[in-house]
Symmetry: D2
Subunit: 307 residues, 4 copies
C-alpha cells in the first residue's frame, strides 16, 4: 500500500461552503453543518484496502460505490463522518435518539434556561388520524376553521406552559420580588414536548444513510422527515455518487419475499414477452453494469448466482 | 472444557419470586422484572473461559468476582442479561435513553392514546436551584407555602395539557359531536415532559452497572435516582457478590489523580506512623486478599506493580 | 398494561432439550447452546408495547412476526437473547468477531496453553481460486492427487507449528531438561490461523439474524457458513415462526433497485397477461395477507403506498 | 448559540504535518495518520452546548477539559474523531478488534495475496512465562543462546509456512508448471498469527482514550503496547491538554475501594501531621483548582461532596 507519500486532508469545496450555515427546518429549528471527515475517495480507499490488489484495476469509482451499496458492504461507508448542530422539538429528538450508533451532546435544561421556543404546526400540517395507517395522518377531514382552532390552542397551551416555567425559575429582582428560583431540572418538567432543544450530532455515513432511509420514509412522522430531507441535501453535496446509489438501491428499491419471487418468476416464465422486453430494456441501459444485468436476470429466473 | 454434559438453565429463586412484580417508583411509575439470563456462576464461567486452565484452581468465586470488578475486566459481566418493564416520566426517559448499549421497545404515542398520567413532585422534592451545583437542587430556600403553590401549578398545568389532548384526539360520539380526531402523533406534542411513558428495557449486567454508577450517583437528578435505587435492589437479589463488589469498587471507591497521588505519597512517606497504621489495619482485614493488600500498599508507595 | 400479574420465565422445551449439547462443526469445532432469554411471545410482547392499544386486536401472532420482519421493525427481535459456546478456528473467529453488537469471552492464549487442535479441510473442500468470484472457490480444477497433497501439507505444517509451540512452552521436567518456558503470549504467535479457539458468544435475536443473513450466504467462506447453518437449526427450534419469516423475507428475498423496478414495471404494464397471472396466484396464496398482496401489487405497478 | 456565523473546518497544524507519515512499529508494522476531525475547541464547543449559558463564563479551557476527564463526562470527547492506517501482526489485531466502538476496514486475504511479512520478536523481547503475572513475561530466565535459538526457530517456522502458502496459491507459469492455484481463503489458513495484516481504523477520541488506557497499560502484551504508545504520541500532538488530563486522571491515577478508603481515612485522622502536609502541598500546587482541592480533601476526610 502507498505508505511513503504524505497526505493532505480530504476536503469537499461544496461542503466547505456550507459550514456553519443554519438550514431552517420547522419554525425555529435548523440543521447546521459543523464539520465532516472524508469524501468519496476516502470511502473508496477503505473499500480497496479490503479488496487489496485484487481490485486495484477497478478504475470505475462510481461503479465500485454502487457495488458497495448494492451488496450492503457497508464498512467503507463508515469511514466518512459528519457533525451537525441541530435545533429540534423534543418529540422529534426522542425519535432521532433511538439511532444509537451516533455521538450526541445535547443542551441540558438542568444547567441552563430554555428559550420560549416551541413548535406549532402550520395549518396544512394539522390533520386527522389516518384510519389506514395507525401511526399516520389523513389528508382530509378537518375544516380550515378546525385547523385554525387547533393551531391557536397549541399556541396558547405552549405559552401558558412557558409562563409557568418563567415564573418558577425567576430568581428575583433587586427591588421587591424574591422569585421562586425553582431548580431548573424541576421547573422544566411541565414544558411541552414541542419545546425546542439543541444538540451536536456526529455520525458515520453508513449509519447516517440508515437513519435517512427510515426517517425520510413516507411512514416517518412529517416533522422528522423534514429534518431527514434537509440532511439528504447535504449528503448530496458531500458524496454525490453515494447519494445516487442510495436513492437507487435504498429509497427507490423494492424487496420481494421468497413467496413473491416465486409468483413473479412463474408469471414471467409464463409470459415470455415480458422477459424479452426486460432484456431489451437492459440492453439499452447506460447505467447498469454487465454484472448487475446478469444478477437481475438470474434473480428473475430464479438461479442463485448474484454476486 | 466441559462439553459433554447437558445443562439446565441457570436460575435464581430470589429473582423468580420477583418476576412480574411492579416496584412502585414516583407517583405512577414502576420497575418490573420481566426476565433475566444468567447468574453469578454464569459470570464466573465466562471469566474462566478467558483464563482457561491457568485459573481453574481459583476456587474462590467471590474473590474472582471482586478481581473482575477491581480490574475492570468487564466482559464476563456482559454474559448476564436482564429485562425490565418500566413506567417513567418522559424527562427521565430522555436521560435514561442516553445509555446506548441496551435494547428498548417504547410505547408509541403515534399509534396509541396516552393515559392522563403525569408526574407531580412531592412537596419535599420541590427545591430551589443550587448555587454550588449548577445542575442540582438546594435543600433550603422555599417556604412550605411556596412548595404548595408550585405543586398546585404543576398539577393544574398538566391537567390543562391533558384536557387539550383529549379534546384534540376525541373522535366523536354517535349523537352529535363529530370530534376533531387530530392525528395522535400531533395531538401529543403539547403534553408535558412529565407525562408517563412505558418501555421494555433489556441490558447486560456490565452496562447496567455502568448505568447505575451514573444514575444512582448523588449528582443524578433525584427522579432517575429513584429508578436506579430500585434497580439496585433487584441487582442485589440477582448477583449478591457482584453487588457487594460494585458498591465497594465503584460506588464507595475514590480515584486520585497522578498529582494527588504524588501529594498523598509524600505525606505518607513523611509521616511513617500513618503507614504503620494502614499496614496494621490491612493485617486485620478479613476481606482483602493478599494480592489486594500488596496492590494497595504499592499504590501508596508509588511503585507500579499492581496486578 | 398488565402489571398486576406475576410471571414465570418464558421457556422453550425444544431449546431446554438442546442445552449443553455440542453440535459438531468442522473437525474439532462445535456450537453449544448455553442459555437463552425469551421466546416468540416475548418478541410479540415487546412489539405490542410499542403499538399499544392500537394493535391489541391483532390476534394473529404469526402475522405480526411476519409484519415485523417485512418492515424491518427490528427492535422487538432485540428482546430475545441467546448464549452459545463455540469452538472454531482462528480465521473463522476473525470473520465472526467483525459483528460488533455481541458479547464475547474468548479463551486467552496469554493465560492458558492451547491444545494441539487445528483445522485441516476435508478433501472435497480443497478447491481452486474462483475466477468469477474474487473471494471464493471454484469447484473444478484440482485432481484428487492434488487435494491429497494439499491436505497432507496442511497437516504437516500444523503439526510442525505445534511441535515448536510445545518446545517453546515446555517448562522442564524433574530429571534433566530445564525447558525454555517461553511466555505463552509469545510462544503462540507462530501457531497457524487454523488453530482452534473457544468463546462464549451472546447476542440478541435481531443481531443474530443479521449475522446469519451474511454468514449463511453463499458468498461467505464455507467454514463460517457451516457454523451459521448449525446456528440456523437452533434458531428454528427456538422461534419457528420468526425463522420462517426470516427465510422468506431475508434469505429467499430479492431486492430490485429503482432502475430495475422501472424496467420490471414497464415490462409488466406492456404484458398484461403476466400481471393477470400474478393476481391469480396471489388469490390462491394461503399465506399472504391482504395487506401484503396490496403492497406487492402496488410495488409492481409503481405506486408508493406500501404500508 | 452562535448560528449566524459561517465556519471553517478546525485543523491542527501539528497533525497536518503528520498526515500520511508511517510511524514504524515492530518490524514491518506502522501507524499512519490518515485524517482527523475536530480539535480541543471542538470538544469544548460540545461540552458547552450541554452546559449552555450556565457555564459560558468558564473562560479556562484547560480547566474545563480537566473537569470533563475527572468527572468522566465523556460525550464531548466523542466529538473528535481520528482515522489511522495500521499494519500489525494478526495476534495484535485480534486483541485490538475487541474494542467494538470503532470502524474498521481490513485487508482481506480472501481477495488478495499476503506479502511474506511476519513478526519475529527482537532478542530482548523473548522472555519466559511470568510466575507472578499469569498473562505476562518474566524479565529473567533465558540465556542469550536460548533467545537466539527461539528467534531462529520463529524465523524458520514463519518462512516454512510462507513457502507452503506460496506453493498453494501459485497459479502457474507459461512454460510448464500449472500451479495448484488453491483458493486464497484456504491457502492462508496455515499462515502464522504473526503474519502482518493492515486496516483503516477510525475511532472517536473518548473510545480511543479508553483503548489506550487498556493497551498502554503495563499488563497489556508488549507488542500492542508498542502501538498504543505510538498512538499516544499522536494524541499529544492533536489535543495536548486532553492528553495531559488523560495522563493525570487515567494513566497515573489510582482508585481505592470503599474498604481501602476507610483504612486510609482512619490512618490520616490518626496522624494529623500527614493531613497538614497534604494541605500544605495543595496550597503550593499551581495546577489544582479550588474545586479539585476541596474534592480531594473531602475524599480523604470521608464526606460525600465532590462535585
Amino acid at each position: 500500500m502507498q505508505t511513503a507519500e504524505l497526505l493532505t486532508r480530504p476536503s469537499v469545496p461544496a461542503m466547505d461552503a456550507l459550514l456553519g450555515y443554519a438550514h431552517p427546518v420547522l419554525g425555529h429549528g435548523f440543521v447546521r453543518l459543523i464539520d465532516y471527515m472524508g469524501d468519496e475517495p476516502a470511502v473508496l480507499q477503505a473499500a480497496r484496502v479490503s479488496y487489496g490488489k485484487g481490485t486495484k484495476q477497478s478504475s470505475e469509482d462510481r461503479g465500485l460505490l454502487r457495488y458497495l451499496m448494492r451488496n450492503r458492504h457497508t464498512t467503507p461507508l463508515e469511514m466518512a463522518e459528519i457533525k451537525l448542530h441541530c435545533k429540534l422539538p423534543v418529540f422529534v429528538a426522542r425519535q432521532w435518539i433511538r439511532h444509537r450508533t451516533a455521538n450526541v451532546n445535547e443542551y441540558s435544561a438542568r444547567y441552563s434556561i430554555l428559550e420560549r421556543e416551541f413548535y406549532v404546526p402550520k395549518l396544512e400540517d394539522i390533520q386527522q388520524q389516518s384510519t389506514e395507517n395507525k401511526q399516520g395522518r389523513a389528508e382530509a377531514g378537518l375544516t380550515e376553521k378546525d385547523r385554525l382552532y387547533v393551531q391557536q390552542q397549541m399556541q396558547l397551551a405552549g405559552d401558558r406552559d412557558f409562563d409557568l416555567y418563567e415564573t418558577l425559575i425567576h430568581d428575583g429582582d433587586p427591588t421587591d420580588d424574591p422569585g421562586l428560583n425553582v431548580a431548573r431540572e424541576l421547573a422544566r418538567i411541565n414544558l411541552p414536548m414541542s419545546t425546542y432543544t439543541e444538540w451536536y450530532w456526529k455520525v458515520d455515513l453508513h449509519n447516517l444513510l440508515h437513519f435517512l432511509s427510515l426517517r425520510a420514509d413516507p411512514h416517518a412522522q412529517k416533522e422528522i422527515r423534514d429534518y431527514a430531507n434537509t440532511i439528504l441535501k447535504i449528503v448530496r453535496q458531500w458524496v454525490p455518487n453515494v447519494y445516487d446509489a442510495f436513492v437507487d438501491y435504498r429509497l427507490d428499491a423494492r424487496t420481494f419475499s421468497g413467496q413473491e419471487m416465486a409468483i413473479l418468476r412463474r408469471a414471467l416464465a409464463g409470459n415470455p414477452g415480458a422477459m424479452v422486453q426486460i432484456e431489451r430494456s437492459l440492453g439499452q441501459s447506460a447505467e447498469l453494469s454487465k454484472r448487475e444485468i446478469n444478477a437481475f436476470i438470474s434473480n428473475l429466473r430464479g438461479a442463485l448466482t448474484d454476486v
